[in-house]
Amino acid sequence: MAFEPRIVGFLCNWCTYTGADLAGTARVKYSPNVRSIRVMCSGRVDPVFIITALAGGADGVLIGGCHPGDCHYQEGNYKALRRYLLLRKILPEYGIEPERVRLEWVSASEGERFGRVVDEFTEQIRALGPLKLEESVLESMKNDVMHEGGTPAHTTGV
């Protein structure tokens, strides 16, 4: 079966999620690959959420927030930007392509742009291929056994 990217989207309640809603009501056609999770602010997106998504089978993570200066909570999107930039520096150290995580500013009126961002990101992840983070980590431990022919002690829950 052809690879279909699995993307988790953390979308801010005030801008990007509303923009995604607008894309729906305006019947914009775009890739169905993003599973959206509504958060109150992009500043609420803990890096733990992003890494958990990637370790749990996502091939990419999209974070959507309000344009700079437009944050409902004044500064949340700037915090999101700084966390995103720092997270992108540690991803290659984990052996994960930083392009798998993307931060975009999409306002409530940019339904069409939301569709474009999702289309573009989906194609980018499709080109990168599946991440298979958990599989790779489990595979790397398969010979960590006490006795020949034994099974590794810890095979689940990366």
Binding site: R82, L86, Y94, M141
Partner: protein, 317 residues
Amino acid sequence: MKLKIGIYWGAACGGCDVAILDTHERILEIAAAADILFWPIAMDFKYDDVRAMPDGHLDAVLYSGAIRNSENEEIAVLLRRKAKAMIALGACAHIGGIPGLSNMFTRDETLKRVYIESESADNPEGVLPSERTVNDGNELELPRFYNTVKTLSQVVDVDYTIPGCPPASMQIYSAIGLIADGMLPKKGSVIGAGDRALCDECARTKSEKKITKIYRTHERLPDPETCFLEQGYLCLGPATRSGCGSRCIKSGVPCRGCYGPLDGVADQGLKMLSALASVIDGKEEQEINATLDMVAAPLTTLHRFSLASSIPRRKKV
């Protein structure tokens, strides 16, 4: 009745055992309260002594060190069976510790670096350790060197954890007191530590944090009164459990995170990433990146002790 305890080290430096001895004259109180039936680093015991014990014979086992090879795991499984309470002692058993940093590499890369490439290696034939060797007809077997370093709780069920690198000696002493008095809290608890972040206990002056420069400790002399983070030193205090008595902070060294995450935190390093990113000044990508570029080796600095217990556990291969 006297307690029966066992003490063991897996992939560890022995610092946790020294921390037990650093209880000084109180070690005599420990010896009065508990018979030590197994402690290979300090006394003469054999694994067969442990194998001969009935299951559940030991009231508590203090296991320090990470799981680096099959021997570490085998003895962890054995001791788990013989112990009523399995206690992870120190950062390596708790969150992987410094040995966990080798999860940035594979087993083959580690062996190559240590036995062939290292500056002090004299190994022209490129001999690597192997699990089986035959010498004069005698077969010798070495434990299997694992690809991925694990924490104790990743291979056996752990009842309690005493964090720290090493744990503060008085905390070990008081934890043994809890066992002796039958006052252990609910299973899974961290004992011998606080339940707030180190920052909460820190005596340094804190004000609005806005940093544009990151310094490493050797680059400048820090001010002794002001919060390390505000001065631009990467201090892991906001994301680290208290209980150490601020040993490093009081000696002029920022926290490196050895006491591990607070309750309910899935990944200590990522929590610190959040905290650090929040206090960086700047709203433009370029100026933020200019500051972030000063963080040396961000993944392993943020997860200095906790890489093996981070969510992906190791570098993808």
